[in-house]
Symmetry: C2
Subunit: 276 residues, 2 copies
């Protein structure tokens, strides 16, 4: 069954307005290209972890081997493919590029960046994600992989990303950009700072960042993680008051000794585990 139309425009108007929805969709499928041209959509993932032994907060970066921004450091990420949501892409690309497998529970959508010319290759829109992961599964494989954990220090409103072999990158929390000679690919400095500010803004209200401590943790460990994000010594956070503030979000699961001192109670995050 083929209809005749005076013009392509008439055909479009017929199917959009007069035909049934089923007919419209069948016609739409057969059309060549859509009316508008389209951007690439990518995701970038800001992944934090914390190493207990080193008492270090870390951020996962990958070294770009190809243009553009060849040899620069960048956030793990990649192109969204047909049939997947951006959250799916986030999990897939993180696994592919870094070998780190994370779950839907540990990621959170942050912000979508769409400034024209933010990617020299052309029109690219990027959805950014934030993730907190428990362990540091890249240990021996560190030099073999392109993905590397950078240490992250906060000193006042300055964030320092450094790695013994790869120099350092300075980000300014107030200027919202990189201020060092070495800088990150694309606008990834802005994305990281958006992520960091998001963490600061929500840490007491919904302490997702404690997921960097894995399944369970003591109050003292939680204090250390908070202190890293605040850029202060964990001793400046009063143990008693900190515990009082966080207890509503925690569920006690265990009590065990870890080295010297009185054995600590261990907790897990209440909310997220209930959702499972």
């Amino acid at each position: 069954m083929t209809r005749r139309f005076k013009s392509k425009e008439d055909e479009r108007l017929y199917y959009e307005n007069i035909a049934s929805e089923t007919e419209f969709l069948a016609w739409y499928e057969q059309q060549e290209q859509p009316t508008y041209d389209m951007p690439s959509v990518t995701i970038d993932n800001v992944i934090f972890c914390y190493n207990r032994e080193e008492d270090q907060l870390k951020l996962l970066l990958i070294k770009r081997h190809s243009h553009p921004f060849q040899h620069s450091w960048a956030l793990p990420g990649g192109f969204v493919q047909r049939g997947e949501s951006t959250a799916d892409t986030c999990l897939r690309e993180t696994a592919e590029e870094t070998g780190v497998s994370i779950s839907l529970d540990s990621i959170e959508q942050l912000h979508t960046f769409s400034t024209p010319n933010r990617d020299p290759r052309g029109w690219v829109v990027t959805v950014s994600y934030l993730a907190f992961i428990g362990e540091d599964p890249l240990l021996a494989a560190d030099d073999a992989k392109v993905a590397t954990w950078f240490n992250l220090h906060r000193e006042g409103n300055i964030l320092v990303l450094d790695h013994p072999d790869h120099g350092e990158i300075i980000l300014d929390l107030e200027k919202n950009q990189s201020t060092s000679q070495q800088s990150l690919a694309f606008d990834h400095d802005e994305i990281i700072l958006t992520a960091f500010n998001h963490v600061l803004h929500n840490m007491y209200h919904e302490p997702k960042l404690l997921q960097v401590l894995g399944a369970d943790f003591s109050v003292a460990e939680a204090r250390k993680v908070f202190a890293k994000f605040l850029g202060i010594s964990f001793r400046d956070l009063d143990h008693s008051n900190f515990k009082k503030a966080l207890l509503p979000h925690l569920t006690e699961v265990d009590e065990r000794s870890s080295g010297i001192g009185r054995p600590a109670k261990f907790y897990e995050l209440t909310h997220y585990n209930q959702k499972k």
Copy 2:
């Protein structure tokens, strides 16, 4: 200057890894289609206003004349075009579709929706925005335009969108979806509920919603707007305590009478006007 390559793949590897960035970008420009296929990107805008005379909170919807979701109500929005950011698109499409012109200050990015098959036409990613606008500039033109203000009532965790000529649509704040027979196009029910929850979550911390009152307003008017979002009577919000809580965000600008009773002081939102 033309190079020869054994294969297309070799060519790509050469330009991505060996050539200079300038050479790479020149080559990239000339390539046919990108490696991945691409989604359409659209924006949708959740626009609230408040009418003082009617003491009504309102939401702007447009009636769809074309497939898909022909004859359904939908949020104003449209396709992002090359060379503009999604925020630009938001302002442009809102002006085009509704005649309402808004500024960058009055919009806020909400969330990006990318579930596969959320649009029957195919692959569409949507960035949602939230806007509060002052007056209700569609008055006489109401029946001529496709854009219409729906009244928005909250009763418990139920949101009722209604219009004297166009029936009503019920949304459930907890189930996060529409529960009425008449429903909105696409996943716009979910987008509206996301927006509403966002407002509730931030209203005391950063009372952007007061932009629905225009340039300046009295404390009593602010109470009425808050009450609408909370689904309670404005008399249940203690004037004294409410004022104490909001004063840090307000700047006094005037004192004038509006009808009966003691003349009220008028305020404007501090933060946003400073930014200008």
